[in-house]
Every structure is written in C-alpha cells, then in structure tokens.
C-alpha cells in the first residue's frame, strides 16, 4: 500500500467512524461492573490462596 492510498484509506475510515449515522462505530467502554467482578474475584482468589498457604 503506497503512502497516497494509505492516507486516502485512513481518511475514509476516520470519516466513517466520526459520522453519526454510519454503521462503523468505536466500541463501548468496558462496563464498570466487569471491573468490579474481575478485581473482586482476584482479591477473593488471593485471599483463598494465602489462607491455604499459611493457615491450613
């Protein structure tokens, strides 16, 4: 892909992504709930591991 084609394609894509009625969209952010679940799960798992390692 030469520079001219690249720039043309880049501009095409940016215009598509910026156009409100286009089907092309950036994705929604990761829901905060997912972060809570991931970090909560990690904390629980770590606690369980440390309990097994040092208390049992």
């Amino acid at each position: 892909m030469d520079d001219y084609s690249f720039e043309a394609e880049l501009e095409n894509r940016l215009r598509l992504l910026e156009k409100p009625d286009s089907e092309e969209k950036v994705l929604k952010p990761l829901p905060v709930l997912d972060l809570y679940i991931a970090f909560g799960g990690f904390i629980l798992m770590t606690a369980a591991m440390l309990l097994w390692g040092f208390c049992l």
Binding site: M1, D3, S5, F6, A8, E9, L10, N12, R13, L14, R15, L16, L17, E18, K19, P20, S22, E23, E24, K25, V26, L27, K28, P29, L30, P31, V32, D34, A38, F39, F42, M45, T46, M49, L50, W52, G53
Partner: protein, 497 residues
Amino acid sequence: MSSASSDMTVVDGSDGTLNELPLLKRERIWGFWDYSSVNIGLAIATWAFLQGGAVAYYVGAKNAIITTVIGYGISALLVSLAPCLPSSRYGIEQFVSLRSVFGGNGARVLMITMSALLAAAWSSVLAIMFGHAIANVSNELFGTNIGDGRSVVSFLALGAIVLSWGILAWGPVSIEWVNKIVAPALVIVTIGMLALVFAHLSWSDLSSKAPLGPHHDSYTNFMLALELNIAGGFAWWPNVGNLARLTRSTRAAFWPNILGLFLASVVAAIVGAFAALALASEDPTLWMVPLGGAFMGVIALLFVGFANITSIVAQGYGSMIALKGGGGRLLRRVPWVVLAAAILAPAAVVVFFPATVYDNYGRFVSWGAIFLAPLCGVQITDFFVLRRQRLALRDLYLPDEESCYGFWGGYNPAAFIAIAAGALIYALLLDPVSYEPSSVFKYVTASAPAFVVAAALHFLLTLVFVRRFGKGGYDTKPAAQTLESPDVGGGVPLPVD
C-alpha cells in the same frame, strides 16, 4: 465493499489488520470464544515450562501454586486493561494507542526499541531451548554428549532462527499454526507431564521436594517466586493489544485474557514447576525422557523443540506487524522478507551467549518487567483515570505539530519520567543484574511498586505540568463524564457501538 462501509468507498487491497489503520466492523473477526482460543493457544507455549522451572528454583510445589496464581493474577488483570482495552475500543494498533501517552515520536521510539529488543530476547530464548531439545534427542538416540558443548547448542539454535525466518518470510501463518496444531498438542504434552509426575510421586512426596536453588530466607524465596510470576504476566504486554484489537466488543477483549493469559498460563507453569521439582532440573528439555521413557520422551522432546519454532514465528510476526503498523512511511516500504531478517538478526547473535538469557531465565524476565511494569502503570493511568477511556481518534494519526497528542516535539516527558522512576524503583528493590533483592523487596516485590510509582507519578506530572501547559488533549473532555457515557474523541464526537 462491505455493507458496513457502504456509504463510502474503501480503497481496494487495504487491510487494517496488517497496518495501523483503525479497524472497521468487518475486520473485527473475533468474538469471546475466538479470542479465547487464540489466547489459550499462545499461553500454553514452551515458555510456560521455562517459567515453571524458574519458579521451582525458589519454592516448593504448594508455594509454586500460590505464587503462580497470585502473580499471574496481578499482571494478567493489569495487561488485560492496557493495552487490550484501548486497542479494542478504537480498533487501533497498540503502539498507535501509545501516541496519546508518549506523543507520536515517543511512541515510535518505544515501538522500535521494544519490538527489536523483545523479539531478539524471546526468539533467542526459544531458539536455545530448541537447541537443547535437539541436543538431548541426539544424546538419547545416538549416545552423543552434546549437552556439554555449548557451541553445538548455539549452532542448533541458529538453525532454529534461520528456519523461523524462512517461515516468517513465507507468510503470516504462525498464529493459525499455533492454534490448530501446536497448541492442542502442547495441551496433551502438559496433561501427559502432569499425569506422569503423579504416576511417580504422590502429592505429599511432591510437596516435600525442596526448591532447586533457594535463597537462605524462605519468605524472600516466596516473594522472588511471586515476582517471577508477576513479571512473567507483564511479558504478555507486547503481544496481546494487537490481538484484542480484532475483537467485536470490549468484553470479548477483556475476559478471554482471564482464560488464556491467566488460567492456561497458570496451569502450564504449575505443571512445569512440578516437573522441575520432581526431576530436580529447571531445564524443560531434561524432563521429557525421564518422565516418558526413551520412546515417548524423545517424541515429546522433538515436539517441544519444534514448538519453539512456532513460538518464535508468532513472536516475530507480532513484532513485524507492530513495526509495519507503527513505523510510519519508512518501515511500511521495507519488504516483508527483509523486515523478518532484521527482526531475527539480533537473536542470531544472542544465541551464541546462552548464559545471558536461557540459563538466567529469571533475570531475563526481570529485564522485561523493569520496563513493562511501569509502562503498564502509565498506560492504565492515562487511559482509564486521566482520559476516562476516551481518545481523539483522528489526532492519533495527525502529525505531532497538528495533533493534540503532539506534546513537546512529539514527546511527553511526563510519561518518560514516570517510566524511568518506575524502572529505578524496580532496580533498587531487585538488582536486575545480580538478581539480589533489597531488604524491602520481601514486603513489596519489585514489579508492583514499579507499577504503582510510575502510575502515580504520571498522574501527578500530568495534572501539575502537562495539563497546565494545555498539552496532550487532557482538557478536551466533556463536562460530565462517566464510563458509560457516549464517547467524545478530543472534541470530535464518535458514535459508540
């Protein structure tokens, strides 16, 4: 032309997955299970056995499980946030996303340095492992004694590099190979190793096995093993962003990492640690024959040896895509074959110094983490805290003098200072050359403080310095932002899927 882009013409022959263009809907090819299978395939690679062997150096079986689960848990979770989510949300190449953190020139410097160094380092480790595997096969079948002859192993490793170059030059087939053939077979080898370990030893026997070369303080040993695993997880940073870019939702970019980078890596590394403890050897190529017998052992060893080739190709392919995508006009013009040779050339030299990397795997992983842990901290702070998951997509592609991410001459000194401070903290806590921990290390590890210090410093410097000068596009946020609100890319509203 796809229906997704039917309202505008798309230039024929363009493929955003092979360059730095933001991806369109039709190019986002992976859902949750697709990305999970790729992720698991990459996680269960031969480096997981090396990781397990290194952990067994410091701790026994029970603590190997605990430190691997917690260590990989920390870093896999952080790496799943960045670079995965910026790349997935905007469909951008992962070093392009770094332009918002380091500036255009800064991101380019990072990309070239990291792609070159990490590709050379990992390729040489895997090539040397290939050399050891083939040498051990020869020893078993022909009664040779190659293991003691370092130069023979180095030349075999060089052969692996040349073979990898041939495959890379032929075309980007690597990831498909890994997933369709090598990964399932490595799963079988891993399960087989676990079964054979427990065929020889009970859990109580295994858990009573002493670590291979521990420090005098058992608590320090535990933390060194934990550090190894945190560092091992951070080593995924260069590989996963561009894979997550291909997913169809941010959830599909995030959760498969927990199955692959975390769960699959943990299982493979723990099996590696068990085998290392059972056979009192860190070197995975010395496990197969004692565990499986001459026939099965040689077959497994041959397979593990050649699995390293596919891992080198996968690693090299990732680096080449990064260089092609983020290297600007100059690298875009370099022929694929030449770029493949350039990527692998440093590894062809490093294989003649096996003690530098393969024999010191822990230090080698530490050299990566000294930079990757602060980098991850800076990127997470920038994307999630300072920018609330919003980037100005167009500005990522503008020249530095026009882009809100131009900072000062295309460099953001705040991010670089934060990275340097994090790396310094790491080096003060754990000497990356001698691998000697400081007295504080056993309370905090090295990667975790490096991550926290870099993240905090980047946050503070941005607020009191960068933002005050109106640089970096940090002031273009809408008045009310939540994580769920519609995206605003640096003042240009972008539709959200």
